[in-house]
Each structure stands twice: as C-alpha cells, then as structure tokens.
C-alpha cells in the first residue's frame, strides 16, 4: 500500500538536518511518497521509524506461500470484498484429506488419485491444490508425512493436534514447507514453536473471533511469519459472518491479527452438501477449503466456481477468433458466425452441440463484446464478417454458400449477399437458446 507524505513524515527524525539534500523532513517525505527518493536516503532514520513504515506500507493481507518452488500454492494479498470492486487475486484451492485410518498402501493410492485428478475446462487446467495428510492417529506420523511428500505432485497440509506427532512429522518433511494445521487454544504455544522453528506457515483456529485474534497474535509473537486463519465451518452462516468480519477488519481497518488469508474445514452430513458448502466458501472468503471427497462430481463444481469467481471482471473474456468445428462437420454442414466474447461464443457453441447437428462457427474478433454491443460500438460490420470468413477459409470447408447470421443483425444480410460469395444469408434466432430448434427446422 502506498504511503502518504504525512504518514512518512511522522516517522522521520523531524530534525530538518538537510543531509538528505532537502531543506526539510517534510519535503523529503513528499519525495519518498512520490517514489523519487528511497526511505534509506535519510541517514538518521530510527529502527522504530523504519519498522513502523514497513508495517504501514505492507499489504493489509499477507501473502502466504505453502510448498516448494516446484509445488507451491500462494494465497492472500486480497484487496477487496467484492469482485466488482477490482478482482479477487488468487484462486482458492481445494485440499483433500488423507485420513489416518488408511494403511500406507491405501494412503499412497489416494495420493496417486489426487495427482491424477486434473481436468481441462475452457482452456484451463483445474486440479486439487493440496494433499491434507492426517498424521494424528498414524502409527508413524513422520513416515506418513514422508510418504505423502515423496508421492504428491502438490503441496501438503499436515493435520494434527498433539505437538509430539506434529513435531515428528514436521522434522521429517520441513523442506517441503507444508502448512501446519492447526494451532488452537490448547496447543498454540507448542504449535507456534514448531512452525516458527521450521519456518513453516501455521493455521490457527479460535472458538470465536476474539480468541482467533489472540491466537494469531501469539503465533506472530512466537515468530511465525505466515499465518492462516482457520474456521471450522460447523455453523455455515456463522462462518460466513466470521470470514466477512475478519476480511473487512484486515482490509478496511488494517487489523493486523486478521491480516492473513483464511481457510475453512468443511463440515457436512453428506458428500453432496460438502461440495455445495465448499463452493460457497470458495466464493466468500476462504482461500483453502478442506474436504474429504475426491470424485470428479464432488470436486468439479467447486473448481468451476473458483474458475468463475476469480475471473478478472475488468478484462473481457474472449476466445480466439477462428473457425471452430462443432462435432465433425462436413461439406454440407451449416456455417454460423458469432463474436469472440466468450460468453456469447460458449452459449452458441453449447447450443449447436445440443442440436446434435455438426457445424462450423466462425468467430469474429469484436474485442470481447457481445453481438449488440459490438454492433453499437462499431466492432462488427458486414464487411468485417466477410473478411473474417475469407481469412478463415470457411468457403473451402463447405460446398454450399449458405451463411447463418445472428438474429440480432438482420441488417447484415443484404450487404453480405452483395459483397461476398455467401449468396444465401439466413437470419438465425436472436438468442442462442433457440439454435437447436432453428437448426433442426431450417437445416435439412
């Protein structure tokens, strides 16, 4: 966060010694605020002053890194409560629990399954973010942690409550930089020591917000630098309230004890509810959701929620402007065109797919605007459509010369017919939803 000249001035020696080259400390402070000078150019800056300024200029929510360079997860440094105010910066991650009740072979098989849970959706790779290894209750906590660390392609969370088991597990895999989960009122001293000794991030959980803030502060005082605020999710309404208050306190009031990202351990009576609750918390405001389920139908809705909610609302979502083949179209298949606004394209493509009539869709570059907005903003014209079709060599793909155009642009028909080889322009429906009925009625 950028500091004002006044905030900087307050922490300077205020002696106007001029050694920095400026007549007054205030003048120097203004230069620092304008980023023309560095704070270190003041020869008499006190340690306290420097620390206070570092604190004040730090982001209100700290960035927490879990894992190593090649297997890492970073979250925190969020800046807003609502995505339309700017954007949500770092997509939430799913952590899947590996229960201590599993044998080593079963645990290994589960890690393997987590590694293979990778999905591709609209051009993005989606996967589980963490193996959350329960070490409490394992005969050999260090061995179980080691096993997961060796086999996992993603970072780890170590789940335990007693300091003895946690210490063993941490000692065996601390170079993997797992998240220590979790410190609470009964073990905070020991857990904070384990985490700070090994320079690991620590999750802390309180019975209410007051206790949570005290535990967070205690962990910090013990030298833990990276903290995760953890919530149990038993009362989901209450948990939403706690997450909201903690985030507001950090972002709006710079309340240090809550200046960290959050996570929720999902508590549900069915795997179906687990998915719904985890998706809700991923949208508001948990950076990690800890779940038990690993089947695709359990994790995919959560991953898609994250994919959607963490999209940058300031950047129009576009697809590449090219000729798309839906199904396996042939020389008699219909040709349609639409815009490169991804919402428009995916709606049209989805409905064409639903019609079960293979087709070509020519995507025209409208700089991410939908049909009407593109027309209003002069980003699409009959001329541009004709040129795009030529560039994409659409006419080489089919024998006919029929072109289906969006129902919202009937005005393009005459010009396209007059200026191109597409001699039969058919006006399509105004909404994508009606494409299946339209195609089955008109395309015989």
């Amino acid at each position: 966060m950028a500091l004002t000249g006044m905030q900087i001035y307050k922490n300077l020696p205020k002696t106007n010694c001029k050694e920095c080259g400026f007549p007054t400390c205030m003048a120097f402070a203004m230069q620092v605020a304008a980023k023309q000078k560095a704070l270190t150019d003041c020869p008499h800056l006190s340690e306290e002053g420097e620390a206070a300024l570092a604190e004040a200029s730090a982001p209100p929510m700290k960035l927490v890194k879990i894992g190593t360079d090649d297997k890492k997860f970073e979250f925190g440094q969020e800046t807003v409560m609502f995505r339309h105010e700017e954007k949500f910066h770092r997509p939430a991650g799913i952590a899947v629990r590996i229960p201590s009740s599993l044998s080593n072979d079963e645990a290994e098989a589960m890690v393997d399954k987590i590694n293979r849970s990778v999905f591709e959706r609209v051009g993005n790779k989606l996967r589980v973010a963490f193996c959350a290894v329960e070490i409490e209750g394992c005969e050999d906590p260090a061995g179980r942690a080691r096993l997961a660390a060796d086999k996992s392609d993603i970072p780890l969370i170590l789940i335990g409550g007693s300091p003895g088991a946690m210490k063993e597990a941490v000692d065996s895999i601390k170079t993997e930089k797992p998240l220590v989960y979790k410190g609470n009122a009964s073990n905070i001293e020991a857990f904070a020591e384990i985490a700070s000794g090994a320079k690991l991030p620590l999750a802390v959980e309180g019975k209410d917000l007051e206790e949570l803030s005290e535990l967070s502060l205690k962990a910090k005082q013990k030298g833990v630098e990276e903290i995760v605020l953890s919530f149990d999710g038993k009362n989901i309404g209450e948990t939403i309230r706690f997450l909201t208050i903690a985030r507001r306190a950090a972002l709006k009031k710079r309340f240090g004890a809550f200046g960290y990202p959050a996570m929720v351990e999902i508590d549900s009576d069915s795997p179906e509810s687990e998915t719904v609750f985890a998706s809700i918390f991923a949208a508001k405001y948990a950076g990690i959701v800890l779940i038990n389920g690993l089947d695709p139908w359990e994790v995919l809705p959560i991953m898609t929620t994250v994919q959607d909610i963490f999209t940058d609302p300031q950047v129009p979502n576009t697809v590449e402007a090219k000729l798309y083949e839906i199904g396996s179209p042939g020389e008699n298949s219909p040709v349609l065109f639409t815009t490169n606004f991804s919402l428009t394209y995916f709606s049209v493509a989805g409905e064409v797919e639903r019609s079960k009539i293979p087709a070509y869709i020519s995507v025209v570059d409208t700089e991410g605007l939908g049909v009407l907005n593109a027309y209003a903003g002069d980003k699409i014209s009959a001329e541009k459509v004709v040129k795009t079709l030529q560039e994409q060599k659409a006419s080489e793909k089919v024998k006919h010369r029929k072109l289906i155009i969006p129902g919202l642009l009937p005005i393009f028909r005459a010009e396209i017919e007059d200026t191109s080889e597409w001699k039969e322009v058919i006006i399509g429906p105004e909404t994508a939803m009606k494409i299946p009925a339209f195609l089955s009625n008109t395309w015989k």
Binding site: I240, L300, D308, I309, T431, P436
Partner: protein, 318 residues
C-alpha cells in the same frame, strides 16, 4: 483482543414481496410466500435483519422440456403432466412455490394456444395449494397473447408473472395492474437494462414494490461470474438506497443448468468427469448455493436431489 467495528450502515431495505393469496385474501392458497425485506447482505445478520429465508420454486412446464434422461428419470412419469409434476414437487420435494413455464406455447415448439395455457394454470392451481409463478415461453409476441389469459385464469391468486422486458413491459404491466398480480422484470445479463426495465415499469404506473428482478441466469461455468456480480451489485445498490434496485431477485437455475455440457454429457463424452447422475444434480445445487451468497431470493430448481441439498443449505445458513 477487541475486534474493530466493521459493520456497514446500510440505509435502505429490500422490498418485501408476497406471492399467493389465501382464502381470506381472495385466493385459494393454503399459505403465501414472502421474500425480501432484508436490510443487509446474505447471512450478515450482525448488521441488519433478514426477515425471510430464500425460497425454492419447483420447475414445472406445460410440456416435457428437452432435458437429459438423468433429470427426467429422477422426476419420473409425473413430468408428463404439469398437474402431477406440480403435486409431486410440493408433496415429495417440499418446494415453497411452483414455477410454471409455458414452453409449449413457443411457436418453435408446440405453439400451444393461449386458452390451453390458461387451462394449465387453472389445473395446477386446483392441484396444489402453494403460490404460483407463471412464465410465458419467452417469445414476446406469443407471450403477449398467452400471459393475459394465464393471468385471467388466476385472478385473486396474486401470482408472480414473468416476464416484463424492454420490448413487452406495457402489456404485462397492464394485465398485472388489472388482475393485481406481481411482475418479474427481466434483463439480458445487463445491470443497466435491469434498472431501465424497472424505470419503464415505474413510469407506466406499476409499483416496484410488486416486482421481482430477473437478471437472466447463467449456469455455473457459463457466464456465472457475470450474473453473480450483477446480483451482488444490484443488492448493494438496493441496500444503499437505490429504490429502482431494491427488489428481490429470482434465479432460474433449473432452467439454465440442464442445457450445458457438464449437466447433460455422461462419461462417454467427458471421460474422467464422473457419473452424470451425480454430476448433473451437483452442478445445479452448486450453482444455486453460490447464487444465494450473491443475493438470490427465489431459486427455480428442477432436480429433486439438488432441491433437497439446497433446502439443507438454506436451513444451515439461516
């Protein structure tokens, strides 16, 4: 340690809208359903009141929608009759209202006549005692014929009628004023048009206290983020005193989700994506659950398992 006070001071209340009418009120419903009335964002009861929980309206149509078998089979043979479908939704699924959609009236479908549509409304009103939401087919010209007759068939029942758009609001506003029905105002994923439709209704003399906004609904993964943010921005504007945005909001989750790949394609099309019979209802439930956080007051839902999971979610949230 003392936690800083971070309460927002919202200055306005979302309109309270009641749907349905009991015998005493001139209708035949066993109970009415009220939505809205909140003075804070979803769940945030530490800084305002939430007098009414979100509700679920069971999707029922006058013909079998072009849905995948997983959904049709889950509903069963009752899907073939709007009356039986509505009864099953109320008795077995426990929905709060029935959302009746005249998709068969679409000229591209069966082009059902307005009087046949009105008959369906009459029959469903007789078969169930929960309040009703009645939609046309979406074709403005046809809806201008269908909706007046449907409204006539439900005079006194205080039904919620959908939808009034920029192009047809006058007809809808006139019939709803005459028959004392409520209106759904609709905009195509555009918050400014949403506000504009409400202005048009208000200028036409229709009281916005009788309006529920429909921002159009996107399925999870298909523009969901746009609609989520529009719902959230509209709700914040309403709470900050923008009277044009202070209406409850409806999401047609069931109507949208079951047309996208993730809810209709099984593992033969999407290898490794898991069984459709689980994935489909979870897509619907998740979509509905997350919309609740953005400010949805009425969720239109279709799959019995998805309905059940969202009932659980609402109970645990409030």
């Amino acid at each position: 340690m003392e936690i800083p006070d971070v309460k927002e001071r919202w200055t306005a209340q979302i309109n309270e809208v009641t749907i349905g009418a009991t015998k005493e009120q001139g209708g035949t419903r066993a109970k009415t359903v009220t939505v809205g009335g909140q003075t804070t964002l979803p769940c945030l009861t530490f800084e305002g009141e939430i007098p009414h929980k979100p509700v679920i309206a069971g999707y029922v149509a006058d013909m079998v929608p072009g849905w995948p078998d997983v959904l049709k089979n889950a509903i069963g043979k009752e899907i073939n009759s709007p009356v039986e479908w509505a009864q099953k939704s109320v008795e077995e699924y426990g929905v709060d209202l029935i959302n009746l959609k005249m998709i068969g009236a679409d000229p591209a479908e069966k082009d059902t006549s307005a009087s046949d549509c009105a008959k369906v409304v009459e029959d469903v009103l007789k078969a169930v005692d929960v309040p009703l939401i009645v939609w046309g087919c979406g074709d403005e010209e046809k809806d201008n014929l269908v909706l007046p007759e449907c409204s006539q068939a439900a005079v006194g029942e205080n039904v919620l009628i959908g939808s009034a758009k920029e192009g047809n609001y006058k007809t809808i506003s006139a019939i709803c004023k005459a028959d004392k029905q409520k209106i759904i105002s609709e905009a195509p994923v555009d918050i400014n048009i949403g506000k504009q439709v409400n202005i048009l209704l208000q200028d036409d003399g229709f009281d916005l206290k009788n309006v529920v906004m429909f921002q159009t609904t996107a399925a999870l993964g298909y523009g969901f983020d746009y609609v989520y943010t529009i719902l959230e921005r509209a709700r914040i504007a309403g709470l900050k005193g923008d009277k044009l945005m202070a209406t409850p909001q409806i999401c047609d989750v069931g109507g949208e989700v079951w047309r996208i790949k993730e809810a209709i394609a099984d593992e033969d099309v999407l290898p490794g994506w898991g069984r459709l019979e689980k994935r489909g209802p979870m897509w619907e439930a998740t979509c509905a659950g997350v919309y609740l956080q953005a400010g949805a007051d009425i969720l239109v839902m279709a799959h019995p398992e998805a309905i059940n999971k969202i009932q659980t979610t609402i109970d645990r949230l409030y």
